[in-house]
Amino acid sequence: MNGLGMMLYCVMSINAFGFCGFYVAKADATLFNNRSEVILVRNGDFTVITMGSDFKGDVREFAMVVPVPVGLGRSDISVVDKGIFSRLDAYSSPRLAEYYDQEPCGREMNIIEENLDAMPSSMRVPATNDERLLEKKNYGVTIEAQYTVGEYDILLLSALESNGLKLWLMDNGYKIPAKAERVLAPYIKSNMKFFVVKVNLAEMKKGGYDELRPIQIRFNHPKFMLPLRLGMANSSGTQDMIVYAFSPNGRVECSNYRNVKVPTDRNIPVYIKNDFGVFYKDVFETAWQREGKNAVFLEYAWNVSPSWGGVKCDPCVGPPPMNYDFNLAGVGQNGAWSNVFFTRMHVRYDESHFPADLNFLSTSNQEQFQARYVLQNPAAGYGGWDCTEGQQYLVNLHDRRKQEMDELAHLTGGRFAYRLGYITEYDQWIKELPMEWNEKEKQEDYALPTKKGGLMPEQVLPDVSVEISRWTWKEILGIAMMLLVMVRVYRAK
């Protein structure tokens, strides 16, 4: 086998149960998967994992090796329509809400809300490898089962030691990165099986699929985790993973890394409208850097039970998942759920910041969350700006836009382009500029990242997210109450 390149990329898994998928490609492919998607469904010990693949290449050159905690029967493995990923993504991705100011001088209220789809993630296509069933030699590798599911040929292997498994894979046409052996060993020691997935070209042709569909597995095991480490064996850079999780209790969170919410409900300059995707990428990058590059980010959390009466999103960027999607994802496969809670997490990981696999925990946390950014469009000025309210409106608009620019600088760490003149765009209609403007700053300079507010990306400091100005009166009252009790207790005789 001439060079089989291996794209290692972790889909998910579990220590005694590792679901880390490697995508194994022939020909030292320079494929770069830096983003993957996984759906987790968890109820008690019952887990369903759906792995979206991003393989972009010749399907004959693809194979995936996935460690699993327990042996899987034929009925535990299925192939699902990949539309589920794009629908969940569309529903839960960070969103932009747009509002319009009221006309200040004599036109009626005209508020339109528009929802712009943020950044639907592109699906990944798993690919394949050519057929080669392998007999058992002295590798210590046993083929425990063998299935054809949809367009995939699946082998279930168990191994005695990592070197044997490595040799087996190599002798059977997979080129393994040097580091893979070291990474495989702990999973073997945890009694995991490995399942090797290849594409069955004949089945694929018969089914008329032009892309590889996600593979889904289900099992009962107490461990709830994704084995990131396997996926890092041949990648030195960072990889992104979006985890969509369903649980009947509440939010799913990571139990061994910190869970952080991405910034939300921020007013941003209107010119970001057409570049929202780029903007959010910068926001995420900045937040990831500020939080020390080792946090798991929450992007969405919502009760999506069909029977639950509340709104399913605000604003919705995609239709909420319904029974059809639940069935696809595996919700309710082990009995009816009274409630369905949906969580979307975004992890950007690399070897040095994520030394251990991700462990998850299904909590009772029912707080809803969405990453939402707000555009506030100025009034069109149909009624002119000359009335007193109009003049005041323009002054406020100027100040508001200054805040929006500050917010932009803070959110993106100076990564996103500034637009000169955004703050002063409407100043020409102000008859009398407030005195303090001239004293304080030249507006044109204000927006230059090098002069104010803009940080160079590498200088982004850990966010001391004190931001007391954002605290609500309840929080301030809470602090006061706590201090009061503490003082009284301290003085107790």
Binding site: N15, R182, A185, P186, K189, S190, P222, K223, F224, N249, G250, E253, C254, S255, N256, Y257, R258, N259, V260, K261, E291, G292, N294, A295, V296, P355, A356, N359, L361, T363, S364, N365, Q366, E367, P462, V464, S465, V466, W471, K474, E475, I476, L477, G478, I479, M481, M482, V485, M486, R488, V489, Y490, R491, A492, K493
Partner: protein, 275 residues
């Protein structure tokens, strides 16, 4: 105004240590949104404790410090969907202290009791083991250990024996047996919740054996059980459950192995300072 009994009362140091942990959470980890539930926890523990000592006619207002420790423990570990649920937590924690006693000893650490009951039986409360992250831990440890050393409670041995037990087990299983890198092992310890339990929960003098040797054996036992439940039964909140099922045995150990009973305030002989 620091008086003699305040210096001698190790609870003051524990309160300081826990407050620092809490302050770090509020300032650096975005816990300020939880402030209403923190305030309710602290206030209602204070209230319940005052009522209880008044009702029982105890002249021990210093025990209010114990209730503050309990409420800080709740703030640090328990997360709830609605702040008012903290009133229930406080009632469970403080109430259980006065109801379940055996020969002057508590059967459960009050905060841990409330956490276990609420997490197990309500669908509104949970524990978040990953809430501390990593970069923040070093300064916390320094404060935490400082607190312990200052505590005069002579309970630092429990914490260290516990931590060392966990470290050894984890090293043997993950590094030696499974072959993970040392970073994986370090990552296990670099977690706030483990240290929080080690420094503030299992060292609780009221619910750990009085006898020095027994106390160390006790800490080893807890370490082994927590490790087993967490890494072999895969329950991330292991410490809560292990402590819940183990502390009721402490009075029995104390009754068997004679040692002087614990008193919070040294050099003073309060009638009822075991509350």
């Amino acid at each position: 105004m620091v008086q003699i009994n305040q210096i001698n009362d190790s609870r003051i140091f524990q309160i300081a240590g826990q407050s620092i942990f809490l302050l770090v959470g509020i300032l650096f980890l975005g816990w300020h949104t939880e402030l209403p539930s923190f305030a309710i926890s602290i206030f209602s523990c204070y209230l319940f404790q005052s009522w209880a000592i008044q009702y029982l006619g105890l002249q021990d207002s210093l025990s209010l410090r114990s209730s503050l420790i309990t409420s800080l423990g709740l703030c640090l570990l328990l997360r709830v969907n609605h702040p008012l649920l903290m009133v229930t937590a406080a009632a469970l924690a403080i109430g259980q202290k006065f109801i379940f006693r055996w020969r002057g000893y508590h059967l459960w650490n009050p905060a841990n009791f409330a956490i276990a009951i609420l997490v197990a039986f309500s669908n509104e409360a949970w524990v978040s083991p990953g809430q501390w992250g990593h970069f923040i831990l070093l300064p916390l440890l320094i404060f935490g250990i400082g607190t312990l050393v200052l505590r005069q409670a002579k309970r630092w041995d429990t914490a260290w024996v516990y931590i060392i037990t966990m470290a050894l087990l984890s090293f043997v299983r993950f590094v030696y047996y499974q072959g993970w890198e040392l970073e994986v092992w370090w990552h296990q310890f670099n977690q706030g919740t483990i240290w929080l339990y080690a420094l503030f929960m299992i060292t609780d003098p009221m619910t750990s054996p009085q006898h020095a040797i027994a106390r160390r054996v006790w800490a080893v036992l807890l370490g082994v059980l927590v490790f087993y439940v967490q890494h072999l039964l895969f329950i991330p909140t292991a410490a809560v459950w292990v402590l819940f099922f183990m502390t009721p045995w402490v009075p029995l150990i104390n009754a068997t192995l004679k040692s002087t009973q614990w008193h919070w305030v040294s050099n003073r002989n309060f009638k009822s300072n075991t509350i």
